[in-house]
Structures are given as C-alpha cells and as structure tokens.
C-alpha cells in the first residue's frame, strides 16, 4: 500500500508482564507495567480526538439541538389537532429523549465546553427533567464516573434501591427487586431527582435529614417549573383540550422515562460486567482507572439513529473511558478500543438491545433472592410442607 492510501498504524503487541509482578486482581487482570502501556494507548486516543475537535462537532450538536427544538414545537402544536394526538406525543417524546440524552447528558459532561457557547456549556445548561442539573452533575459526573462500579462508593450500583451485585448484602427487602425496578423505570426522572437525597443512607442513619434541606429546595424549584409547563400552562393553552394535552405531556414524559431507564440499565448491569471492591481500587493508577471503566461498562449494538436516540450511551464503554469527549466521536473510537482489548486479552461487553435487556432483567430477578435461597423467609416452611422437592439452590444456578 502506498502512503497515500489509508495508513494502518503499526500496533505493538501488548507488553508481557514483568517477571516479578502480578495482575492487580482477578477482576483487573493486568499488571502495573501492562496498565501503564494500556493507559498510554487510551490517553493517545483521547489526545488525538481533542486535537481534532472543531466545526464538525459544533455543526453536529447544533443540528441535534435544532431537531430537538423542532420536534418540541411540532409536538406542542399538534395537540391542537385531537386526531393527531399520537403524533404529538411521539414528537414530544423524541424531543424529550434528545434533550435528556444526546444533548443534556452530554453537554452537562462538558463535552462541548471547548466551544465557548454559553448555550452548550456544562455549567449553564439545564435540561428538560425534574432533576436539577447542578445535583445531577455531582452524583453523575463526579460520584458515578469517578468511582464507577465500586460497590459501596458508586451509588449508581442499584441506585440505593435495587440489589444489582452479589457484593450487596441480601435483605428480605430485596425480594421486591423486580417491582422496584419497574417503578423506577416508570418514574425514572423522579428517581434521578431523588437520587441525591440518599434516602437509603438516611434510613441507615448515615445521613441526616437536615443535610438534604438545600437539595430539597433545589428539587422543588425545578419540579415546580417542569410541572407548571407540562401539566398547567401548555394544557391550558389548548383550552377545551386541556385533559388531552395533559395526558399527552404525561405520556411523553413516561416514554422518555422508560427509554432512558432501559438504555442506562444496559450500561452497567448486563451479565459479565465487573464490579470492584474499595480495596482493589485503592491508589489506582490512571491505567487502572481506564481498565475499571472498560470492564465496568457494556455497549449496545445498533444503527446510527439508535445511537443518536440513546445519546450514544449505547457506547457506554467509550463514554466511560472518555466522558468529556463529544459523544458523536464514540463510534469512531470504538473500533480502536476493541482492537486494544483484543491485544490485551480484555473483555469488551456488547450486544443487541434485546440481549442486553434480557441479561439485565435476569440479574434484577436473580439478585432479588439471596445466594442461598434457604434464607428467604418462608422457603423453609414451603420446603417442609412439600417434603422432598428439587433443591431451590439449583433453580438459582439456572437463573444466574
């Protein structure tokens, strides 16, 4: 091949471990020297994209923004035509999904701060969601993205409500896991808004109610604005169609909730995604941080439109490796990340939406039960009544 055609960079094989070193842990299967090389390769990708940011990225996000505003205005307007109600709901749902994911989530990550446009600045952007951006940025950008999948530190492991990991101790409360997950899905934006209140820590006595006063005020201010717009003003503007518009706006919020929940749960909960202990992540190097992000995340395969509608969170692995790079770049770096994974013999968790969702659903049900099903209240009684039955432990093994 001549130098004028696409140049294939020469890939060094992954370095062999030094004779006197061990992998960090079973979960983190690289040695310190390998991690250094691995981290340097990730840094190089990051550097290259940062140097290349420019007009194309700006045009893209402005185009998405324009489409979102267009769908929003169309949705609000179509409520004046009662037969077009489903269309109105669809348009408004698309608008809310774009606003929350490809625009809101990504802008608030600082992915477009380099543009210097106040409308696309992480410190100023506010999204169409009841959770105030200020609070979301703390729990998401800082807590979740820094301590990803460290059980006991990353509050996104089960969101303080669900048991999603074997290292979370079982309690009879978790028998309701599937029900809580269903409720969280339907009321997702409210769950996200309540997330920062750390209700589970208040119940556990680790947090005082008074610590929540300021957060609570912030949430109420945002809730009032969101509710006024979606449930009072826009319905009122359609006069006699008030109930239809109200129902339509509520449906659009519901659709957005369900969609966002499903995409986000596929990001860290499919089978095979690793979780980590506080001990194994102490004094973590940059390379180890990258490795933890990679092994603690999972992708969803799909077409271009699907990636846009998921805010490119379908590339959760690339998002966790490079949270502040514009999300439209994730598909482009995904091939390289996969190739690096192959060379280092690392898992790259990906699959179609249906497959990943089924895997998550199984996990939600599996962790509703303790590792030893005999702990479940009543199981002993049932077993005694039934006499010799199939041992429930075997059922669990199948489900897992």
């Amino acid at each position: 091949m001549s130098a004028l055609t696409t140049e294939q960079p020469v890939r060094e094989p992954a370095p062999a471990p030094q004779p006197d070193e061990q992998p960090i842990s079973a979960n983190l299967p690289l040695t310190p020297s390998q991690l250094e090389a691995f981290g340097a390769e990730m840094d190089a990708i990051r550097q290259r994209i940062i140097a290349d940011l420019g007009e194309a990225d700006a045009d893209y996000i402005r185009k998405v923004l324009k489409a979102q505003r267009g769908f929003e205005v169309a949705g609000r307007a179509l409520f004046y035509l009662p037969p077009a109600w489903p269309l109105a709901v669809a348009a408004l749902s698309i608008s809310k999904i774009l606003d929350n994911m490809e625009i809101g989530h990504n802008v608030m990550h600082g992915q477009y701060d380099w543009m210097g446009d106040p409308a696309l600045n992480s410190r100023m952007f506010e999204w169409d969601n009841v959770c105030p951006s200020e609070q979301w940025k703390y729990s998401h950008n800082y807590i979740h993205h820094t301590f990803t999948n460290i059980v006991g530190k990353d509050r996104d492991v089960g969101y303080g409500i669900l048991r999603m990991d074997a290292d979370q101790e079982w309690h009879p409360y978790y028998l309701g896991n599937p029900v809580y997950a269903l409720l969280l899905m339907l009321f997702f934006e409210w769950g996200v808004a309540m997330h920062d209140l750390e209700v589970e820590n208040i119940v556990a006595g680790k947090r005082k109610m008074s610590e929540n006063a300021a957060l609570h005020r912030g949430i109420m201010r945002k809730v009032k604005r969101q509710a006024l717009k979606d449930y009072v003003l826009f319905p009122a503007l359609t006069g006699p169609l008030f109930p239809l518009t109200l129902a339509g706006n509520a449906t659009a919020n519901l659709i957005r909730n369900i969609w966002a929940f499903n995409i986000i749960f596929c990001g860290h909960f499919p089978a095979g995604v690793a979780s980590f202990s506080v001990e194994e992540t102490e004094d973590e190097s940059r390379g180890q941080w990258y490795l933890r992000q990679l092994l603690g995340s999972a992708n969803i395969t799909g077409g271009k439109l699907f990636h846009v509608m998921s805010g490119n969170l379908s590339h959760q692995i690339e998002h966790h490796l490079f949270p502040d790079l514009p999300a439209r770049r994730y598909p482009e770096v995904a091939d390289e990340v996969r190739e690096i994974c192959e060379r280092y013999g690392l898992q790259y968790n990906t699959g179609p939406l249906g497959h990943q969702l089924f895997s998550v659903a199984k996990k939600i049900c599996r962790f509703a039960l303790p590792d030893d099903v005999a702990q479940v209240p009543g199981v002993g009684l049932v077993r005694a009544l039934l006499g010799k039955g199939k041992p429930p432990v075997a059922v669990v093994a199948e489900a897992a």
């Binding site: 409308a119 410190r123 006024l228």
Partner: protein
C-alpha cells in the same frame, strides 16, 4: 417593538420555554430576535489605517435588547473563530453614547495574536452576527453635554486607546448646543506616525471647527516629543487640577500616573492583554477572590490553592467531572493531561489538571 419585547421578556413565555429560555428558540428562527441576550449584525467594516496592524471601524446593529451605552464604555464581543470556538474580548465603543437598540461602532486594531480583533478587522462582513454583552465600565463621561460648564476636560490617549476619548468628544459635540462642546476640551493623542493615526480626517475637522476642542496630535515618526509632565504643563499648566481621562499603552499610562502624582482628577482605563511566560515553577499565583498570593510551585492550581489554605470545590481530581472549573483571569496554564498551554484571559479552566506557567491569576 415595545409590545413584542415586553411579550418576549414576559414570565409566561419564560415558563413555557423553561428550562432553556426564550432566546434558545428565537435564535433558531432569526439570530436578531432576542428576549434577553444581546447580539448584533455587522453593518459595515471600514478601514481606518492600513499597515502591519490595520485598524477598522465596525458598525454594529444590536438587537432590541441592547440597553445603550455611555461614552467611554466597552462591550464584550464574542465571535466564532475557525475551529468553532466562541472567543470573547472587550472592545471600547468609539461612537457617541447610544440609546437602547441604536447602532454603534467599534474601532479595532488587528493585533497579530488577537483572534477576535483580527476577525473583526479582516474577516467580518456585513450580515455576520456577533455576540455581545451589555455595555460595561466606569471610565465614562460623567457630565451632561447639554449643560455648558467652565470645566476643562483633558483626554490623553495613545494608539488604539483613542477610542473611549473619541466616544466622549463625539458625544459632547453631538449633544452640545450648536455643535459646541460647551466646555474647554484638550484632546492629546500619541501615535506612531500619520499613517497610524486613527480618525485622522475627523480629528482635523474637529480641530478646525469653532467648538471648544483643542486637538494635539503627537507623532513619534515626525520627531514629536513623547509624553512628559513638562510637555503637558506647557499645554495645560494646571493639569493636576483638570478632570483627565487617560487610556493607552502601559508605558504611557505609567508616565501619566507618575506626572499626576496621585491626583484624584486622573481616570485610567487599561486594556488587558495576554501575558505569556516560559518556564514551569516560576512567578506568583494570585487567588483573586480570597486575595491570596503564593509563589508558584508548579503543582496544579487546585493543589496550590489547598496548600494556601483555600477550600475550592472539587470532584474527581483527574479532569473528568468539571466540578472544579474556575475562571483564570490572567496568565498561562498548562493542561497536565495534554501538555497544552493556554494564555487566554478570562478563560474557564479545570483547576485540578491545570498548572500555572509563570504568573497566573485565578478567581478562587
């Protein structure tokens, strides 16, 4: 426009467009429609001087949200320079005081490293849209031009520092009775030479007319004297007792301040320019909000702030969460992740991954 702007700025419309605000929708239809933000359309760009650093006067038609300006004020101008980066710099308004929504002009010298000034002088074309702040600054004319007084006003300017003084003199002549400034005005300006003289024709006209304004131009290339207290005393004997506005290069400002010896009559305006220094652990770091100054150790600004006893907000400490973003007002910082250095004034930086290179001031 009255009813429309009232409607656009109404609370109902704000509630309907929450959380993004009315302007985020209006701008998609027409960038000149705004409820709160200020933008302007370039009407014309006229060269004042040519040469290595040419000067141009840019006439702007602001949106109806522009609240007008007082003579001597400046405005922040944001333009999208190549690479889709909005860059914002301050420019003094050179036209006479404006009313809300009224056109005004900026007179800008294209500095070799000035992204925005070069864009305004060399690339701006009629129809282009720029982002604006409202007018800012207290370096203003605090007298009513319509009321003649015995006060003597003195303007001392150098180079492109002529603009605020020009706005004040233009305001006096426009709003004074019958084209007369209504007071004694001395306009002393220093330029490199006639080819670098901004507003040459208009200044000649002002000098020739019977309007109370005395124009003195000093051209270095023609062998005219540089600023000195003795030279000034020849023009205005009691200058320390005269209301004076001075604006120009640092050297001129220093000499004028020395000559005035702390007189409260002297008003100064400085233009901030990026200061680039080489080296790593040199210079001083100023934490402007807390008023602390420490010797630069070369560590990240977050670590240096903490070592100085400050408790700035932070999160990940590795440059991913943006919790620690703060405004750097002066100096150069190096991004410790990318090695990239930046010397832009008034720039938002993540202090956990930014290390100062030489002197640096951060709003912490």
């Amino acid at each position: 426009m009255g009813l429309t702007s009232t409607l656009l700025a109404s609370r109902t419309l704000a509630a309907l467009t929450s959380p993004h605000g009315v302007d985020r929708y209006l701008e998609l239809v027409n960038p000149m429609w705004a409820a709160r933000e200020v933008r302007a359309r370039v009407v014309s760009v006229e060269r004042e001087t040519s040469g290595e650093h040419p000067v141009a006067t840019v006439t702007l038609q602001p949106t109806s949200t522009w609240r007008g300006h007082r003579a001597g004020q400046y405005v922040q101008v944001g333009v999208e320079v190549p690479g889709a980066r909005r860059t914002t710099r301050c420019f003094t308004i050179s036209s006479a005081a404006s009313q809300p929504g009224e056109r005004f002009t900026l007179t800008v010298r294209a500095h070799s490293e000035g992204l925005v000034s070069k864009w305004l002088v060399e690339q701006a074309r009629p129809g282009f849209v720029v982002h604006l702040s409202q007018a800012q600054g207290d370096f203003t004319l605090n007298e009513s031009p319509a009321t003649p007084t015995n006060n003597h006003l003195l303007f001392i300017t150098g180079g492109s520092g002529i603009t605020p003084a020009m706005s004040m003199v233009r305001t006096l002549l426009r709003d004074g009775y019958d084209g007369h400034a209504g007071r004694k005005v001395t306009f002393l300006h220093y330029a490199r030479g006639p080819e670098d003289q901004i507003f040459a024709t208009e200044l000649a006209e002002i000098a020739a007319a019977d309007n109370g304004v005395r124009v003195v131009l000093r051209h270095e290339s023609a062998g005219d004297p540089l600023f000195s207290a003795i030279d000034l005393a020849r023009l205005v004997p009691d200058f320390r007792e005269v209301d004076t506005w001075v604006c120009g290069p640092a050297g001129l400002m220093e000499r004028v301040e020395l000559a005035y010896d702390g007189s409260p009559r002297l008003r100064t305006e400085r233009f901030k320019a990026p200061v680039v220094k080489a080296g790593n652990a040199e210079g001083d770091v100023v934490f402007s909000r807390s008023g602390q100054q420490v010797a630069n150790t070369g560590a990240s600004l977050l670590e240096q702030a903490e070592a100085a006893g400050l408790t700035p907000e932070f999160g990940c400490r590795m440059g991913i969460c943006f919790s620690c973003t703060a405004r750097k007002t002066e100096g150069t910082v190096r991004n410790v992740l990318t090695g990239e250095e930046s010397s832009l004034p008034d720039e938002d930086i993540r202090v956990c991954v930014s290390a100062p290179v030489g002197d640096c001031a951060v709003d912490l």
